[in-house]
């Protein structure tokens, strides 16, 4: 019985693959139709014939007002408590790059925030409005770049100053 079900699933999957050769855009469209747009995107590599995914783009890219606003939201939603005052890490990993566990392009960062991640990243999709998530993404994308709002500077230790 169980084996039969497995076989049926395998068959279905193969059919789906065959039928789907002309629908490379579908995952993104599906996301736009139902659920949260921009979150139904792959994290891992994609097996099988190459498919081109169009990642959703950030409406606030290069928008400096949105970056500033993202910085404010990063503190407001307590992201800073887990990821460090300026996202250098703590309970959650550093978001200052270059290493990303779940992908560092805007769509993946959006998905990490909206859906949450397995080792304790809360799922914020039902708590934070979408446009605010994009502003957070806009801020995160600036970390360590000249555009970073309210960037931290590593000050010399006061005690070291004293000694001179």
């Amino acid at each position: 019985m169980i084996r039969r079900i497995h076989m049926e699933i395998a068959l279905l999957a193969t059919c789906a693959l065959l039928l789907c050769s002309g629908c490379t855009q579908q995952p993104v469209q599906a996301a736009a139709e139902g659920g949260l747009p921009g979150v139904k995107i792959p994290v891992g590599p994609i097996p099988g014939p190459q498919m081109e995914f169009k990642m959703p783009t950030n409406p606030y890219e290069e928008n400096s007002v949105a970056m500033e606003e993202g910085r404010r939201l990063f503190v407001w939603y307590n992201c800073y408590g887990c990821h460090g005052g300026h996202a250098g890490g703590g309970m959650g990993p550093s978001l200052r790059g270059p290493v990303w566990i779940y992908g560092g392009d805007p769509a993946h960062v959006f998905a990490s925030i909206a859906e949450g991640r397995g080792k304790g990243m809360p799922s914020w999709g039902t708590k934070i409005p979408q446009d605010q998530i994009w502003k957070l993404v806009a801020y995160i994308e600036t970390l360590g770049t000249p555009q970073e709002p309210d960037a931290p500077h590593v000050a010399p230790d006061p005690q070291v100053k004293e000694k001179k």
Partner: protein, 610 residues
């Protein structure tokens, strides 16, 4: 490197010479402190470890002293590594293994596996491994690395906590789970990292999450079944704190009804912190358990006017019922995150010419507190590292004399506050040798700039309201193993570490050897009287665990310790923390600038013998 050690030894000799001058002029008791060949008048109140290590600190009283003396100041130079085992987990290895009936029990950081090793065979092969599979999401709410501080053994069971708040009891012979009890909720930010203590039939355990608005508590479980018998919160009305007619705090400041509610703004106590993630000790003579509570909830003090009881408080309770006997709030209205969850060492000792029942608490706030453990009276509070948040303690009122310039407010940066939140020492436990009368304190010298900011409570996320940066304190060093003369309340010698805090526990032995590790990875044996480094070996990763000693099935003495850098400060060695952000990991990165160069994450148990 050798040069540096020589320097340290030289400093030591100088300190010693100076210290002996100091002693000549002393006025109070403890005349035999640190005199080789003479024992100070100290009475140990709980049985010493008998060659096994069945409790987190070896004994109930938390002395971390073992009478074993086969390894001594003469032969410790011949110490060799006789076994090592990787846990496969490159996170902070705090705490210590247990040794019971020829078996060693290793408790790992998340995922909190329990590994039994056969000490009767060469290489100490694994007997079995128990895997509790805690909820992976608990990792995200663990404030300061996914650590675990160990287990207790009694009645054929190894009992410890998983990060996701299960207390588990495992059959020490078979590795089969006997019971499992859920005592907290990760969705409100609660985790459990401390080691339970078992007194008779009661398993006593606290919680963690003071950075996430968790309401701290201690629970007592039935050792046979795991059923919860009592629960004592650190905040809220007296009935929740288990404060009843027998509660007799020494100072008027700690007396009154429902102080756990009235010293808070309305409902503030519900998110009030006071978690209990450190060590619990027990004194069979007074039949009391002792523990300290952590910071009051939300770091920004302006958001919680009042004393915020019972944050940062030492409690004495009855083990069977949890009823409070006394409490001493060490820091009212905390503005620094000075959790006082450190070890409370119970000994009877000559105190100003009279034997007294003492409770010794080397604190995060930078003072060594000595209390009368029957009454909670503060007998002495002296600084053991640079401290400027308070000038001194008034022994009549039990109150610190706080420097208002070192108190942060919303939008106001209090600068150069010493010690930083990470303290004059952290949870890492001291050892007390009844042969020298010295307390060996693993100390830090770190200061901070600390700013209160508005905080927004969202369950399961940090409730912090602070912006903090830390850096090395004055004097050009960051860590020190301090030998503290308890009777005379002063330092006798110290071994300094220039670049990193001392973040490992300490072990004192009957062979007059003191063992501890550095965050860089040096595992050291010191002469308990002089502090001379008699032996050291560089281990694979920085040491934040606590050394233990035991007698193997072959009758030989061994010493064991975990190597695996981590914990709040040590987590800066992890690639997931960027030193480019001085506010990362609650502000510690500025004090840990060299850590990635000096060590790297790892996770190994090492065993040494002659």
């Amino acid at each position: 490197m050798t040069e540096r050690i020589e320097g340290v030894v030289l400093t030591l000799i100088c300190t010693l010479v100076l210290a002996s001058y100091g002693r000549a002029q002393k006025i109070n008791g403890g005349g035999n402190t640190n005199v080789p060949g003479q024992l100070p008048s100290i009475h140990l109140v709980s049985p010493e470890p008998d060659g096994q290590w069945t409790l987190p600190a070896g004994d109930y009283a938390n002395t971390r002293y073992s009478p074993l003396n086969q390894i001594n100041t003469q032969n410790v130079k011949n110490l060799k590594m006789v076994g090592s085992m990787s846990t496969g987990i490159a996170r902070g290895h705090e705490g210590q293994p247990l040794v019971v009936n020829g078996t060693m029990y290793v408790i790992t950081p998340f995922p909190n596996n329990l590994i039994a090793l056969d000490l009767s065979k060469p290489g100490f092969p694994m007997k079995w491994k128990y895997e509790p599979h805690p909820d992976p999401r608990s990792q995200g709410v663990a404030c300061c690395d996914v650590v675990n501080r160990g287990a207790s053994y009694a009645d054929g069971k190894i009992v410890y906590a998983t990060l996701d708040n299960h207390i588990v009891a495992v059959d020490a012979n078979t590795g089969k789970e006997v019971w499992r009890t859920l005592v907290g909720d990760i969705h409100i930010g609660e985790t459990t990292t401390g080691a339970p203590l078992i007194v008779r039939n009661i398993v006593i355990t606290g919680d963690a999450g003071g950075e996430l608005g968790v309401r701290g508590k201690v629970v007592g479980l039935d050792l046979k079944t795991g059923k919860e018998i009592w629960r004592a919160y650190s905040t809220g009305p007296d009935k929740d704190v288990l404060i009843g007619p027998d509660f007799k705090p020494f100072y008027p400041k700690d007396q009154g009804k429902d102080l756990g509610v009235t010293t808070w703004p309305p409902d503030g106590w519900k998110l009030g912190g006071g978690t209990v993630w450190g060590w619990i000790s027990y004194d069979p003579e007074t039949d009391l358990i002792f523990y300290g509570t952590g910071n009051p909830g939300v770091w920004n003090p302006d958001m919680r006017p009042g004393d915020n009881k019972w944050g940062i408080t030492i409690f004495a309770r009855k083990p069977e019922t949890g009823e409070a006997k006394w409490a001493f709030q060490v820091v009212p209205h905390d503005a620094w995150d000075y959790d006082e969850i450190m070890e409370n060492i119970a000994v009877d000792m000559d105190w100003h010419g009279k034997m007294r029942k003492l409770l010794i608490h080397p604190g995060r706030s930078g003072f060594v507190f000595v209390l009368d453990r029957e009454t909670g009276e503060l007998l002495s509070a002296e600084k053991f590292q640079p401290v400027n948040w308070a000038k001194a303690y008034d022994l009549k009122t039990g109150m610190p004399e706080v420097d208002p310039a070192k108190v942060t407010h919303t939008g106001v940066i209090a600068r150069e506050v010493c010690p930083s939140s990470t303290g004059g020492k952290e949870f890492v436990p001291s050892a007390l040798s009844p042969r020298t009368g010295l307390l060996y304190i693993p100390a830090h010298n770190t200061c901070m700039d600390h700013e209160g900011i508005d905080a927004n409570y969202i369950a399961g996320t940090p409730y912090l309201g602070s912006s903090t940066t830390m850096y090395p304190g004055p004097g050009g060093y960051q860590g020190e193993l301090v030998a503290w003369d308890v009777a005379n309340a002063k330092q006798v010698w110290g071994v300094k570490d220039p670049d990193l805090p001392v973040y490992s526990g300490v072990l004192a032995t009957g062979g007059d050897v003191v063992f501890y590790g550095t965050m860089e990875g040096w595992f050291r044996a010191l002469d308990a009287h002089t502090g001379a480094i008699l032996w050291q070996m560089k281990l694979g990763s920085g040491i934040v665990g606590d050394p233990i000693t035991f007698k193997g099935p072959d009758g030989q003495q061994y010493v064991a310790v975990y190597s695996g850098v981590g914990g709040w400060m040590g987590a800066a060695a992890q690639p997931s923390i960027s030193l480019a952000d001085p506010y990362a990991a609650l502000g510690i990165t500025g004090a840990m600038k060299k850590i990635k160069q000096l060590t790297a994450p790892g996770g190994t148990l090492y065993v040494f013998g002659l």
